[in-house]
């Protein structure tokens, strides 16, 4: 029968729960970090801070990249 995992079902479910927690945790880690770095970069650029390579007429990074 579907999802009748027998007498060791608890071990199987715990394993899949651990995997789910790991996947969700890693995705949340990279996504939250991405948002934080984008926010910090936008704040610096809003204050007029530029990379050395952008000071002589090059477009700022915010214009070149996609959100």
């Amino acid at each position: 029968m579907l999802l009748d995992l027998g007498r060791h079902a608890a071990f199987i479910w715990l394993s899949y729960a651990a995997a789910l927690m790991l996947v969700v945790g890693l995705i949340a880690w990279v996504e939250l970090d991405r948002r934080r770095q984008r926010r910090l970069l936008a704040e610096l650029e809003a204050r007029g801070v530029r990379r050395r390579s952008e000071k002589h007429g090059a477009r700022p990074a915010a214009d070149r990249r996609k959100a």
Binding site: G6, F11, I12, A19, E45
Partner: protein, 249 residues
Amino acid sequence: MLKLANPTRFMEYSGPLLRWLSVGAAVLFAVGLYMVFVTSPEDYQQGQTVKIMYIHVPAAWLAMMGYSMIAISSIGSLVWRHPLADVSAKAAAPIGAAFTALALITGSLWGKPMWGTYWQWDARMTSVLVLLFLYLGLIAIWNAIEEQSRAGRAAAILGLVGFVNVPIIKFSVDWWNTLHQGSSVMRLDGPTIHPDLLWPLLVMAVAFTLLFLALHLAAMRNEILRRRVESLRMNEVASAASGAAEVAE
């Protein structure tokens, strides 16, 4: 490849690749989980606990693959001093550590009903635990040393030295008498698993691999952004200092 080996180019090309990897992983996880929970049979010895293998085996493979990626990046970092090599090694460490922990946790959860114990100090399990400590050591180095180039060199040395543990993990079941069973998929004479169990395992393994690569790419992109932020902050401080010096004159 040379065009890609530049942080700005990398940010441009890795965005679409990241989306494709994410979609591929999601589709393969859906197919793989359907095969695992609906179509795949019980194992004649393990019963339904064989389903734990569909997580445990890919996690263990990726734990070793992650460290191998770090070792290759470490060569790029030490020999060519390439900034993307540092970024790659730093981004891979937490992901590799998480997959190593998953391999250890699921192995323990499989071991209790099958072997009667959560843990044995046998060569395979102990060497994988050492791998987790190596990952944690790399993460500690990156966090402890503020100057990124110095941290990169120290981490690259540990990354290369620690790589000796990867073949030890792989061949531990052949070199020593272990409780852990020998290889049944990656063998010179071909897999010894029945195709009904092998196919779900391979689909889950590819799904986890695409997920690992997507996470690695995303973490690399974040690391590049973090270095840009640091660079801009330094420029801001330098501009403020030169402005103050001009006023003083």
